[in-house]
């Protein structure tokens, strides 16, 4: 299978196999008008298999969001066909307005313009909790 290289855009590499579509939806890539490639279950020496997303447009880099969904991804920024920057987001300590608190008893359900803030409380199990009500985050 051959997917062309991109000139100006972002390649999200080393996505855990099967998480590609989740990242696609989470970043709202379905709303873009540019060429996008989602490669699923590509062979990877390091991971065995991986998903890859290539977006042929200069995207705002939502590293916290990416780190929250899949902390081991690599984000490559391509400019004029050349790799110019590489990021490894990792698990962010805090995420703001990336996921919404689903607890109907939480103040975020009623308070106007309150940011939805989640904090990493358990690194090992990748648990994030709402800073207001301590409910676990759900994608």
């Amino acid at each position: 299978m051959k997917v062309d290289s991109i000139r100006n855009g972002v390649v999200i590499d080393h996505i855990t196999p099967g998480r590609g579509m989740a990242i696609y939806r989470f970043l709202g890539l379905d709303r873009l008008n540019c060429p996008i490639a989602i490669i699923m279950n590509a062979a990877s020496r390091r991971m065995g298999a991986k998903d890859i997303i290539k977006v042929d447009v200069d995207l705002p880099l939502e590293l916290d969001a990416l780190g929250y969904i899949d902390p081991d991804v690599t984000v490559n920024v391509i400019e004029n066909g050349i790799l110019t920057r590489k990021y490894h987001p990792g698990l962010p300590e805090e995420i703001v307005d990336i996921v919404k608190c689903k607890n109907p008893r939480c103040i975020t359900t009623t308070e106007q313009e309150l940011p939805h803030v989640f904090r990493l409380t358990d690194k090992e199990n990748r648990t994030y909790r709402c800073i207001y009500c301590e409910s676990k985050s759900k994608e």
Binding site: R105, C106, I107, Y132, E134
Partner: protein
């Protein structure tokens, strides 16, 4: 600016200091009768409460301060749709310290992030109720003479019981504590308390549905009410409300020095006949609540004036 939103806002040293101050207030109340002269406490109670609100008001009055506020959301600007953040900014213009009870979890934290005066959480939905926990700690300290090396049984609604969650977090910081969690299968302690507080800190605990079987092992028995207001479904409430009823017959199996606590209000879960038993300490607990709140108000106001 110091606030009290959850027990993790207080170090063990803070808790010990608050308990020491409360015990000094009990011993010599006259020393403290004027320490809040000219200061005002605002009580923002969006949810009904008798004990907690009156306890705070009595505490402030005994410190020589004044009190203003509301006792239900309908009589506040919340009825007009004002946000908690805006209310906190407005109240900061009128009072020196505020105490908030709200049916939404996290509301006092929103207030604290927007207020320019200290905020005390007096209960936010089923989430936290730190001043009840401080009350419980003071009562246990006075009854047992220590906060270490004991088995604490928590019985009733352990799922929605905010006092239970806060008490587990607080007591987990002391040495030699073991918990026995007694609840119907539908109302267990939430997983996050078990995993992130008990297991993470290596605190031994046992879960059971059988109160009588574990009663002889307990140094403290903390009874709780099944709270109607936490259920979306009335049928579930009716089915579970009388899961545990402590009677003199059952209490006969407990240790001679077992301390029976309850955050009150009680419905059916402790029979009135138990009140005469010297082990029943829940009314002493109410009084401890006033003293520990006096100590807390004093500490938070002092921290503000130190910053000024």
């Amino acid at each position: 600016m110091r606030h009290l939103i959850g027990m993790d806002d207080l170090s063990v040293a803070d808790i010990d200091k608050l308990i020491a101050t409360a015990e000094d207030i009990i011993a010599s109340p006259e020393k403290y009768s004027d320490v809040c002269r000219g200061k005002k406490l605002a009580t923002l109670f969006y949810e009904p409460s008798t004990r907690t609100r009156l306890s705070f008001e009595a505490a402030m009055m005994e410190l020589g301060g004044g009190v203003l506020g509301f006792s239900e959301a309908q009589s506040s600007s919340a009825a007009k749709g004002e946000s908690v953040a805006d209310t906190a900014k407005v109240i900061s213009c009128f009072a020196d310290i505020m105490v908030m009870r709200h049916f939404k979890e996290g509301a006092p934290m929103v207030a604290a992030r927007n207020a320019s005066i200290p905020v005390i959480n007096a209960g936010d939905g089923g989430h936290n109720h730190p001043t009840q926990t401080l009350t419980d700690l003071l009562t246990i300290k006075r009854e047992k003479g220590r906060l270490t090396n004991m088995t604490i049984g928590l019985c009733g609604d352990l799922k929605f019981g905010r006092t239970v969650h806060s008490l587990i977090e607080a007591m987990s910081r002391y040495e030699g504590i073991r918990f026995v969690l007694i609840a119907p299968e539908e109302l267990p302690v939430p997983d996050y308390i078990k995993h992130e507080v008990l297991e993470k800190n290596g605190i031994p605990y046992e879960e059971t549905t059988d109160l009588e079987a574990v009663l002889p092992s307990l140094d403290v028995l903390y009874m709780t009410r099944v709270q109607r207001e936490r259920f979306f479904n009335e049928q579930d409430y009716i089915r579970l409300k009388d899961s545990y009823i402590l009677t003199p017959l059952k209490l006969a199996k407990a240790k001679a020095d077992c301390t029976v606590l309850h955050p009150l209000p009680r419905v059916n879960e402790i029979s009135v006949a138990v009140d005469k038993d010297p082990r029943a300490c829940y009314f002493k607990q109410v009084l401890c609540g006033k003293y520990i709140r006096m100590a807390l108000i004093k500490m938070l106001l002092e921290s503000t004036s130190e910053e000024a």
